[in-house]
């Protein structure tokens, strides 16, 4: 039920394209995912992982939307760190989601299996701040499945995330983010939405 609610938002965004593409199986959804970030600061290395990425890819129009819950990150060095992460830095009660919506620049033949280096371009929103982003990704197409692998950096300064001076040596300004996701066709779309 929870996931249904999440999808409703995505549905709204993709609704026009769905109408156009009524028949084709051009919509893919995230089946499984692993999103991790790491902060390499002089004194501390922080890693956290989340598996709650949701998203849709329209292969006909080459557009996508991914969303994940910030508070779903696990695996900090200690519980207090997670609390700080959610309450002080990301303010995840106020800004619960990170959203990346945009388009794939390169034209890909989704019917053929293979590995493609693509550039995705869109608007990345974290902490309530939106920035235009260009992210390099690798798309592996294996039959009906699409694997997405992407590594990129986020500068905290750009997203108005303020780090107190006292932990400057514990938290890096540049956060490395690594995304791995598997996407499958949404064959029975109507069933899920009902």
């Amino acid at each position: 039920m929870m996931s249904l609610l999440k999808y409703r938002f995505i549905l709204l965004f993709l609704a026009p394209s769905m109408i156009c593409q009524a028949k084709g199986n051009t919509l893919y959804k995230v089946a499984s995912s692993n999103v991790s970030f790491s902060s390499r600061a002089p004194f501390e290395l922080i890693n956290a992982t989340s598996v709650s990425l949701v998203g849709v890819l329209d292969t006909a129009k080459n557009i996508f939307l991914f969303k994940m819950n910030i508070s779903s990150f696990e695996g900090f060095n200690n519980p207090l760190q997670k609390e700080h992460f959610n309450e002080d830095y990301m303010e995840s009660a106020q800004y619960p989601d990170a959203v990346y919506r945009g388009k794939i620049i390169e034209n890909i033949d989704y019917k053929h299996s293979g590995t493609y280096q693509v550039r995705t371009k869109g608007v990345f929103t974290i902490h309530g701040v939106s920035h235009e982003c260009l992210i390099q990704s690798t798309l592996k197409i294996m039959g009906q499945k699409i694997f997405i692998i992407s590594d990129f950096q986020v500068l905290l300064r750009n997203y108005n995330i303020k780090i107190p001076r006292i932990v400057h040596n514990n938290i890096s300004q540049q956060i490395n983010i690594s995304v791995k996701a598997t996407m499958v066709p949404k064959n029975n779309w109507s069933k899920t939405t009902e």
């Binding site: 388009k103 620049i105 390169e106 550039r119 371009k121 235009e132 260009l134």
Partner: protein, 958 residues
């Protein structure tokens, strides 16, 4: 062994690092005092000359010195993404989908906001000049076409645009060439329904994300800058990509801006901090020379008219000297103070001498370095590379050396006198070598193959015509003549037959010339010992001119490049002459380029084959390059605000009571703004120019009239090359100094005069009337007194009295005569005291009472105060009594009692009404006369009439 050398070579080049030789200087201009980084997205220079910076915090204007935020008063912060200017206004596109239009009206700056669409789509580019005066906006949601500040058309992917994200639009004739995330789109604007043509990777485009499209001047080809695959050239006529830079070797990051300077050359900046010099080769391929600036994420690039490249970066704003000045940074053991001589070697190396050691300086495309070559027994004073590429080295007290075929320095030991002499300068012309020593100038013949030693042909000394034995510099001009800068006789020239001396300029006391050069126009420039710089015509040595605007006197060298610039090196600064502007550009430590000082050795510089000038300085070698375009360093003046009583003007007419005019102006200069000074004049007030360093002028109380304020800015004392800005206004005269007011005044005066005349006339008429009334009155009075009736009665009474009582008859006659005397006395007077009137009355009463006896009784009861000060018309009371007697029965049985009393500031005369049966004619005339006379003197009226059987006359007391 070879491997070892290779290893060291790699290590050495690795250590010298990513050093791109001949790197232009980069100077950062902090946008704020606290040096907080500000993202500068886009730059623009407008027609006035200002540079506009579109930053994340709004729009900022730069004049070479100061940054002026233009959108500070707007409530919301605006991120400016695009800029354009035409028709004197600047348009700034924001990230909120709005356009800020900045224009000048009546000398004051105005900002207008145009909302493009309801959703705030960031505006990425603004292009004007399309047919039917439309402006095209490239946004993140397609293209908007606006006209008269309203959106007329929206082109997006539904109309055939390949992608909605538009980076750039470039105009060619009636076609718009649009760079998007999915290739190039070409729209024919003249046919609105025409299909949009799309060029993508399928058509040979190296990358679909086309961030920059810039037209190559005077062609139909375009530079294309992409996100990851570098630059390419798009031919719009053939609709195809004509050449591409090797995509696989593109390592410079995403292309953020391209600045084409001519049909072969463009500067390119990238997000990874590279400045690229991109050239189109003869075979159509693109070659690139890269300069890296660590940490500078370049975003935009423009060039000003003085040749500075200006860059907006992710963290600020900076200037690059790539068009005129580069440097070769040199590591230790380089120390600029000790550099004594410099000479060219080949395209990528120089000879450099420090004291007695000779070094080679390398500056290949990817590395720079300095390596030891040889040491000579004496101090190296000068070096010369002759036409055949051979190096000649002059030393102090150790004679002349040359580099032989085995690359060894060999002394010209045979050449007799030159053996142990001190060499000051070496030059060459027509296969002859000229050497200046402390004992004169030697002309040597040099064998072509250098198999035999040079031979002395001639020796020229003080007495041979030079006039001095000391020649600081020998120079051969383009005709092969030898010029000498001497100590004692200035400049002289050997034309093969004789020595010709310059005509010593009158202002030049010193006859010491240190250094000389021949510029691109074949003028000879001479630097003298503390007496400035002179130019002289090569063919007419009597035509010597002093060059103004030089900042220093302690000159050490002068040189010229091939594009017309002349570089004068001083101990603490460098001046570069710009012939188009007829002014010097000044380089010193204040310019943020770390050019503090140069070598103080005389003539320690060199030119390469192309004409670039190499000058050693404390951190390496400066290269003043030939300039591709003709740059001008002249400054611009701009009037930026005119106020009256500190309020902006509403129109160009100023009323007299707001007559406090303040005019703010500023100068624009990007070379030496710290040296700006101004002159201005106010035409209408004065014809004299006034010099100032202030940037405003206040006129507190100008006389009414029409004025034009003109201001000029200049870097030196000469304003003849400077631009001018002017502002005209009118001070209106106050109303009392305007013609209508004068006319009004004349009318009022005339009315006043006429009025006065009228009043006077009126008065005169009144007076005449009064006189005639009085005469009437007197006449009536006199008539009554000389009435035969009265006389008969009086004379009868007198007869009776004479018979009865002689004494009273005398008294009666006296009173009668007094009565007539009184008439004569008071005939001309208007007023009389009541007291006197009563006295007059008594004479009359005596006459009448004598006649009537007890039949007439007069009771006078007037207050003392009224008696003393009250006034009335003379003879009135007498007339009233006479009147009463005339109209009433007077007898002893029915006595007539007349009461005269004062009441409420009036005198009341009353008598009971007992009219006679037969009335006299003319009854009432006396009363009417009295009333008329009183009316001429007072507003209070005379009342008379019958009240309760009595006839009452009430007279006002005057």
């Amino acid at each position: 062994m070879r491997l070892k050398i290779l290893f060291f070579f790699i290590l050495w080049t690795g250590l010298t690092g990513n050093g791109f030789a001949q790197k232009p200087f980069l100077r950062s201009f902090p946008l704020n005092e606290r040096h907080v980084p500000v993202r500068v997205n886009v730059l623009l220079q407008d027609a006035v000359g200002f540079i506009y910076l579109g930053t994340e915090n709004g729009l900022v204007r730069f004049n070479g010195r100061d940054f002026l935020p233009l959108t500070r008063d707007l409530k919301k912060p605006y991120e400016v993404l695009s800029l354009a200017s035409w028709n004197g206004s600047v348009w700034a596109g924001t990230s909120r989908g709005e356009i800020l239009k900045i224009y000048h009206h009546l000398g004051c700056r105005q900002v207008k906001t145009i909302k493009v669409s309801d959703s705030s789509v960031p505006i990425r580019c603004i292009v004007s000049g399309f047919p039917s005066k439309t402006v095209w906006l490239g946004t993140e949601n397609g293209v908007f076409i606006i006209k008269d500040d309203t959106v007329r058309r929206h082109i997006n992917n539904r109309n055939g645009l390949s992608d909605n994200f538009v980076y750039t639009i470039c105009r060619m004739a009636s076609e718009a060439i649009i760079g998007t995330d999915k290739g190039i789109n070409i729209i024919d604007c003249s046919r609105p329904k025409a299909k949009i043509r799309v060029i993508t990777t399928k058509n040979g485009l190296p990358d679909n994300i086309v961030r920059v499209i810039k037209r190559i001047p005077r062609t139909s080809r375009f530079w294309i800058g992409t996100q990851q695959s570098g630059i390419a050239i798009f031919n719009a006529e053939r609709q195809k990509i004509s050449s591409v830079f090797d995509v696989s070797s593109w390592q410079y990051g995403q292309v953020n801006d391209i600045l084409p300077l001519n049909d072969r050359f463009a500067w390119v900046v990238t997000g990874k901090g590279y400045l690229l010099a991109a050239r189109i080769q003869d075979d159509g391929r693109i070659s690139i020379q890269a300069f890296h600036y660590e940490g500078c994420k370049f975003r935009s690039l423009i060039i000003d008219q003085s040749g500075n490249l200006w860059c907006g970066t992710a963290s600020g704003f900076c200037m690059l000297t790539a068009e005129y000045l580069k440097q070769i940074p040199l590591p230790a053991p380089y120390a600029f103070r000790k550099v004594t001589a410099l000479a060219g070697r080949d395209a990528h190396s120089l000879w450099l001498a420090q004291d007695s050691t000779l070094y080679k300086v390398y500056f290949n495309n990817d590395s720079t370095g300095i390596s030891y070559f040889d040491r000579l027994p004496g101090y190296i004073s000068c070096m010369y590379k002759d036409a055949k590429g051979r190096l000649w080295v002059g030393t102090i007290r150790q004679g002349l050396f040359y580099l032989d075929r085995e690359n060894r320095l060999v002394a010209c030991a045979h050449a007799g006198v030159l053996k142990k002499s001190s060499i000051l300068s070496i030059s060459g012309a027509n296969d002859h070598l000229w050497v200046s020593t402390l004992t004169g100038v030697y002309e040597l013949s040099v064998p072509v193959s250098l198999t035999s030693f040079p031979r002395v042909l001639n020796v020229y000394q003080k007495n041979s015509g030079i006039g001095s034995n000391y020649v600081y510099q020998l120079m051969s001009d383009h005709q092969g003549r030898i010029w000498m800068a001497t100590d004692g006789t200035g400049v002289c020239m050997w034309n093969g037959k004789e020595f010709i001396h310059w005509r010593n300029p009158d202002s030049l006391d010193s006859k010491v010339a240190y250094t000389m050069t021949e510029d691109a126009r074949n003028n000879v420039w001479v630097g003298t010992f503390f007496k400035g710089i002179y130019t002289l015509n090569e063919d007419d040595l009597s035509h010597v001119k002093r060059v103004g605007g030089v900042t220093d006197a302690n000159i050490s060298a002068i040189a010229a490049n091939k594009s017309g610039q002349v570089i004068a090196v001083f101990e603490r600064c460098i001046d570069e002459w710009y012939p188009q502007s007829r002014a010097f550009r000044h380089f010193n430590f204040r310019m943020g380029l770390n050019i503090d000082s140069t070598s103080n050795a005389l003539n320690c510089l060199t030119n390469d084959e192309a004409g670039n000038v190499y000058i050693p300085y404390q951190q390496g070698i400066l290269i003043f390059t030939n300039q591709i375009n003709h740059y001008s360093i002249r400054s611009f003046a701009h009037i930026d605000g005119v106020t009256a009583m500190l309020q902006p003007l509403k129109n160009s007419e100023v009323s007299y009571n707001r007559n406090f005019i303040t005019i703010n102006f500023e100068g624009i200069n990007y070379t030496n703004p710290e040296r700006l000074n101004y002159r201005f004049k106010l035409e209408g007030l004065s014809k004299e120019w006034i010099r100032t360093n202030d940037e405003f002028m206040t006129y507190p109380n100008l006389p009414p009239g029409h004025y034009t304020f003109k201001v000029q800015a200049s870097l030196d004392d000469h304003f003849n090359q400077s631009s001018e800005d002017s502002f005209s206004f009118t001070i209106k005269a106050p109303f009392w100094r305007q013609y209508w007011f004068y006319a009004l005044l004349a009318v009022i005066f005339a009315v006043l005069i006429i009025g006065l005349i009228k009043i006077r006339d009126h008065r005169q008429q009144k007076w005449i009337k009064l006189r005639s009334e009085r005469m009437d009155f007197e006449y009536e009075h006199l008539k009554s007194q000389v009435n035969p009736h009265f006389l008969f009665n009086s004379l009868n009474t007198l007869i009776n009295l004479i018979e009865e009582n002689t004494a009273s008859a005398v008294a009666y006659t006296e009173r009668l005569s007094a009565l007539y005397q009184n008439i004569l006395i008071y005939k001309n007077s208007n007023l009389i005291l009541i007291k006197d009137e009563i006295a007059l009355l008594s004479a009359y009463l005596h006459v009448q009472q004598t006649r009537f006896g007890d039949g007439l009784k007069v009771n006078i009861n007037i207050e003392e105060a009224v008696l003393a000060s009250g006034k009335m018309i003379p003879m009135v009371l007498q007339m009233l009594i006479e009147n009463a007697i005339k109209h009433n029965v007077v007898s002893v049985s029915q006595p007539l009692v007349i009461d005269i009393l004062s009441k409420d500031k009036r005198i009341i005369v009353s008598n009971p009404l007992r009219p006679k049966i037969n009335e006299d004619k003319g009854a009432g005339i006396a009363l009417i006369n009295i009333k008329k006379r009183y009316r001429l003197l007072t507003r209070q009226t005379v009342h008379y009439g019958e009240i309760n059987g009595a006839f009452v006359v009430s007279l006002p007391i005057l």
